[in-house]
């Protein structure tokens, strides 16, 4: 599904990613862990085409397409979803309008008619339950005045609405209490199918207790320095990142 080769990327002339190689197949869940500043969020930003970052070298192939040539909105319409670490507030724009614009943009891209109001509301209600969000959500402005936990649940709600092929969860666990974490993780798990894939970026093992990864990578200083099964996450939890830092200095 996704193949990243020798990816280099920079922000304001400073190189952050220094040759990433990563392959994600259908049905897989990958965890990317690593200490602060290692480039985890940069990787997710580059995958979704955030214009703040510049790719200087390497290739990303997604379902046979050159991902780097696609506009951010087309990457979304092709099924790549990012759950933002810091979801953005858009005052005055209701969630329902925002989501309808998004869902219809996806539908138009796939040559489908816009969703009818009734179908849309039904879909919203159904997906909302998954995240234990109440009906007031629809009329509230996008992320405005949401608590940290609500913002993250709202991200996964949007993911549920858009049913992506590749979901990238960027530090979705940060700022969540244990109940919210359970709800979010539960939502993500329910959305998992053998046809889609997920990349879970996290600093801690905690989230991985709920979302079980197939493969765990350690990102350090802009490179993936270790790849292994779920036991790697436990090792990191126990020993911290210092042993990695010393090993790869």
């Amino acid at each position: 599904m996704l193949e990243i080769k020798n990816l280099h990327a920079e922000i304001n002339g400073k190189e952050i990613l220094k040759g990433i190689n990563l392959t994600v197949k259908e049905g897989e869940t990958h965890a990317i862990m690593g200490p602060n500043g290692s480039g985890k969020s940069t990787l997710s930003s580059v995958l979704v085409g955030d214009p703040k970052f510049k790719v200087t070298q390497g290739t990303i192939t997604y379902n046979g397409k050159n991902l780097l040539e696609l506009e951010p909105e087309d990457r979304s319409r092709e099924g790549i979803f990012l759950s933002f670490q810091y979801p953005v507030e858009i005052p005055g724009v209701s969630m329902v309008n925002f989501m309808r614009a998004a869902v219809n943009a996806h539908r138009e891209y796939n040559g489908e008619q816009p969703v009818s109001a009734t179908d849309f509301l039904r879909l919203t209600r159904q997906k909302r339950k998954l995240l234990e969000l109440d009906g007031k959500l629809a009329s509230r402005s996008v992320n405005e005045g949401f608590s940290g936990g609500e913002k993250k649940r709202n991200e996964i709600f949007q993911m549920a609405m858009l049913e992506p092929k590749l979901a990238i969860l960027d530090e979705t666990d940060s700022g969540l209490d244990i109940d919210a974490l359970r709800i979010v993780a539960n939502g993500v798990n329910k959305l998992k199918t053998p046809q889609n894939a997920a990349i879970v970026i996290t600093h801690y093992q905690r989230l991985l207790d709920y979302i079980k990864p197939d493969i765990v990578h350690v990102l350090y200083n802009g490179q993936i320095v270790k790849t292994d099964g779920p036991e790697l996450a436990q090792l990191l939890e126990k020993n911290g990142y210092d042993w990695i830092k010393s090993e790869f200095k």
């Binding site: 909105e73 979304s76 507030e89 858009i90 005052p91 925002f98 989501m99 614009a101 998004a102 949007q158």
Partner: protein, 482 residues
Amino acid sequence: MEEEKNNIIQEVTGNEYKYGFETKIDTFTFAKGLSENTVRLISEKKKEPSWLLDFRLKAFRTWEKMEMPNWAHLHIPEIDYQDIIYYAEPKQQIAEGSQDIDPELEKTFDKLGIPLNERGALAGGMAVDAVMDSVSVRTTFKDTLASKGIIFCSFSEAVQHHPDLIRKHMGSIVSYKDNYFAALNSAVFSDGSFVYIPKGTRCPMELSTYFRINAANTGQFERTLIVAEDDSYVSYLEGCTAPQRSENQLHAAIVEISLAERAEVKYSTVQNWYPGDKNGKGGIYNFVTKRALCAGEGSKISWTQVETGSAITWKYPSCILKGDNSVGEFYSVAVTNNYQQADTGTKMIHIGKNTSSTIVSKGISAGHSENSYRGLVKVAPNASGVRNHSQCDSLLLSTTCGAHTFPYNDIRNETAIVEHEATTSKISEDQLFYCQQRGISVEEAIGLIVNGYAREVTKKLPMEFAVEAQRLLAVSLEGSVG
């Protein structure tokens, strides 16, 4: 990236003005030019009583001695008042006295989305007075409304059938001496709407006037008068469009609203006069005096305006809060793009005790446009317990536009609580990217964000208008980020 964005701005702001078509209809017009004789001819054409002609002539003589105001933050090219036609009347191809409407006119208003046929009206009903150039061509639901004692008709008709009401109220709120354009309007006004809501009556449907300029080289000078008696309520809407032409056209209107005790009037405007092309050629010059007098205790006037059109907008819907406990509200979104200029705002004149006012102004500027908020909050010495809250926000969508705020406070009573907040912002890259990541294109994202920004105002509009306003905001601006 920057260049790409500019391209999007260009592309989107180059959008065709949807209402720029012209109706081919035989039109009777006066010769160009303005003199005492023009004024007499208009009055004669309308078979007006002599007191009204006298009113016009006094106004004309006053206007002749006045100078064009130049205090606004506007660059107004010299207007040749002798090069304008002051009266244009579409000739309807129907039998004299018939209730029918010329099919060509009906088609025109259909195209504008204005049903002139009562059967075609929206559920819930909206009564329409349709004004083309200098005359009202149709007023719907007159009979339904009359059964409740409500008068809704063209101004000319009101002069004939309700002369006492017109004589009592016309010019009582906006005097013909008030300002240059008010004097001009008072001399040459041609048509408009008259609304009378009797005591204790709640108007059962929205009333609206749709102003259409069609004839070339013609100015439109309409007057609207709304009289709301004790304990009455009405929601009134005003819409405007004009054909796309390379010459400028003048529109100078007066709106007067009189509110008795506990009367409530909501006046909503979606102003979409032709704004000129992307190089600033053509477009309507819109010089309007709108004022409401809350004469009665506990009365309430609410102005909501969405201004997207006109090459130049000069307009300050105002509230004179004379009755104790009366309330004035002003909610405004003014959008300027390309080379449009707007100087708009309000005046809240607190005379009665415990009067309160709210001002919410959202300026959205793009291209090379200039957008100013100008507002006065005045509290008279005897007006104790006054409250005002003003909020003036500017959203800038390019680096070449200008946004200005000119708030004036004149507070003569120390018990007044007057608050003013102002913000200036841009659409953030983060907001745009967030939308894009959800599959929403940049253009659509800007439409969404701008509508969100203006929502505090547009949500005050009646449903049918709100939808139109949202579409207009998106069309006139989507994609404009600098």
